[in-house]
């Protein structure tokens, strides 16, 4: 079970050779419910990491905490060596850590292309006084529009360019949100269920696109229920259940891990995880 990602044997909370994100003792309690209770978690740089676990495991809450959209009860974390606890969410994004939302947040009454343009972080025209000086931002605007159009084409949204985002289907909004997140060339993208509701005809090209991100040096952390996708593209898998990291490792090993099968399936322990639809399995266990 040798690998070049973790230091030593893969185990829950194990250290990585080159982590981009390191979290320590992060807890978040809602009323009496401990949604997140992560002792230690490291995300390897430049790779694709899947965060899996049944519904209610605390994956989305963990995303919210790491990106400054929620405040933890305890804990701290660093991104790229910089301390991030108590840093507001927009600053987190400015540091190059961009997330998407499980419940999509397309900006409905903006056109698709304007949604994309908002993803850029260096537009001088977004300053109040420069806003009046069109020559100051015209060139930059043209540049990001070009980039946006390329991304839209890759995500098969180019035909929708001038439509309001509200007119898109649920799956298309997911795609738009992901494309928009890429506008700023983030160091780390965090995708919360990027494939949920996306037309199956598109998933293959999306997978290729996520792999392409890795080739460009972007680190990807994504939450996903589709085990085919997890197995197909991830280099590393972290499993959460009831707020804790219960297992991690290379995908093939993790899927065989009894703790994982247990967390997901309970009674269905004998089936192969890669062959079943986790969504319905998780529903059964609830």
């Amino acid at each position: 079970m040798a690998n070049q990602i973790s230091i030593g044997e893969p185990a829950p909370g194990c250290k990585k050779v080159d982590p981009i994100l390191v979290a320590n003792k992060v807890t978040r309690v809602f009323g009496g419910l401990t949604a997140v209770d992560v002792e230690h978690m490291e995300i390897p740089r430049g790779l694709i990491t899947a965060l899996i676990g049944p519904n209610g495991a605390g994956k989305t809450t963990m995303f919210n905490l790491l990106t400054g959209f929620d405040k933890p009860n305890t804990g701290e974390w660093t991104f790229d060596g910089k301390n991030l606890a108590n840093v507001s969410s927009y600053k987190v994004a400015r540091m190059g850590m961009i997330r998407t939302f499980q419940l999509t947040k397309a900006l409905s009454l903006l056109t698709v292309i304007d949604n994309m343009r908002l993803g850029d972080q260096k537009n001088p025209g977004e300053g109040f006084f420069q806003a009046f000086l069109r020559p100051v931002w015209k060139k930059h605007e043209a540049k990001i529009t070009l980039k946006a159009d390329e991304l839209l084409k890759r995500f098969k949204l180019d035909a929708k360019r001038e439509d309001y985002a509200a007119a898109l289907s649920g799956g298309q909004r997911k795609l738009l949100e992901m494309a928009r997140a890429l506008m700023s060339d983030p160091k780390l993208v965090m995708l919360d269920e990027p494939m949920a509701g996306v037309n199956p005809a598109l998933t293959q090209s999306l997978l290729e696109h996520i792999k392409g991100l890795k080739e460009n040096g972007t680190t990807v952390l994504f939450v996903e229920h589709d085990m085919h996708m997890v197995r197909h593209i991830s280099d590393w898998v972290i499993v959460m259940a009831e707020g804790k990291v219960v297992a991690e490792g290379p995908p093939a090993d993790v899927m065989k891990n009894p703790a994982v099968i247990d967390a997901y399936l309970g009674a269905h322990a004998n089936s192969d995880l890669g062959d079943i639809d986790i969504n319905s399995a998780a529903k059964e266990t609830n």
């Binding site: 397309a106 900006l107 009454l109 109040f128």
Partner: protein, 327 residues
């Protein structure tokens, strides 16, 4: 019945100084609500601060018109910051509550007798326009526009007010079409999404409050300058709700909307009044007397507004496409 008279009076309202004042305040509200999604129910306070800032600077400090204008603008900008800092980080409805309360508090403060020698208490202030009207290049006299005639000063304030509206409209045209304006619209749609893209949402909301509030304070100055009287009773919740009516009538996320909305609103009020007065005089409305007409017209405008909201919810200039996803 004298239709020509009714139309003339209506036209008089279209270009009236009060209409212009309301239009300016509604343009400020369009920045807050239409473009940023901020629920400001205290726009009267921003207008009042412009009006009081100007008149106090002139009367108490003896400042010339331009310093007084600047002071009025500064007062409302400061108010935007004071209101914004505690509320703009909270959920949208907090701003609504705080703005209503702050506007009422301000109204009580300026009418309180302790500040009487500065604010004039419940009587308000008057005769602060000399420095402004001294700029008037129009020769003394009566200028005839059909049934209504204007003095040189009445004409001057109208010219200044409507030029100001054109100026502000152009200013907003460029602002809302810039990347800065795009961020505001993004915040209106979903502020968390905009945050996740690395924008300082709080700072943009504060900027929007200041810009819209400053425009409203110009409206407040125009309002009191036409009669040279500034009374606390002008700045009640009534004022704010008229602005909302105008904004929704014209279309919230547009620039032409509040302008035409204001003209139509006051034009319609006047038209209804003169037509109904005509009908009463002809004995066609035996159940009404002339004094009641003034109230009935508001009722009719209310009904018209309801019909508008039902059949054209996006307002006169709003984009139908934008609205159909809201329901």
């Amino acid at each position: 019945m004298d239709w020509l008279n009714a139309l003339n009076l209506t036209f008089g309202e279209f270009i009236g100084a009060y209409t212009a004042a309301y239009v300016l305040c509604a343009l400020g509200l369009a920045v807050h609500f239409g473009f940023t999604g901020l629920l400001n129910f205290g726009q009267a306070a921003f207008a009042a601060l412009g009006a009081y800032g100007y008149s106090i600077a002139t009367l108490s400090f003896g400042w010339p018109w331009y310093s007084s204008v600047l002071f009025g603008l500064l007062c409302s900008a400061a108010f935007a910051v004071v209101l914004g800092i505690p509320t703009l980080r909270l959920r949208a409805d907090y701003l609504a509550i705080v703005t209503i309360a702050a506007a009422q508090a301000l109204k009580f403060a300026v009418s309180a007798s302790i500040f009487e020698n500065v604010t004039g208490g419940s009587n308000g202030l008057s005769q602060f326009g000399d420095s402004f009207y001294a700029l008037n290049p129009i020769p003394k006299g009566r200028y005839d526009f059909g049934v209504f005639a204007l003095s040189e000063n009445e004409l001057f304030i109208r010219i200044v007010a409507w030029s100001l509206i054109i100026l502000i409209a152009v200013f907003l045209f460029f602002l809302t079409r810039s990347p800065w304006g795009r961020v505001l619209k993004g915040i209106r749609e979903d502020e968390d999404a905009v945050r996740s893209l690395g924008k300082n949402v709080f700072s943009y909301k504060l900027q929007s409050m200041i810009v819209g509030g400053s425009i409203a304070s110009l409206g407040g100055m125009v309002f009191v300058m036409s009669s040279q009287t500034n009374q606390p009773s002008n700045w009640g919740t009534n004022f704010t709700f008229m602005l909302w009516t105008i904004l929704l009538l014209g279309g919230a996320a547009t620039i032409l909307g509040p302008i035409v909305g204001g003209m139509v609103f006051f034009g319609l009020l006047m038209f209804l009044q003169s037509v109904m007065e005509g009908l009463v005089n002809m004995g066609w409305l035996p159940f009404l007397d002339i004094a009641q007409v003034g109230q009935i017209r508001f009722l009719l405008v209310g009904v018209a507004l309801m019909l508008l909201v039902i059949f054209r919810p996006q307002g006169i200039f709003g984009n139908k496409k934008e609205l159909q996803f809201n329901g």
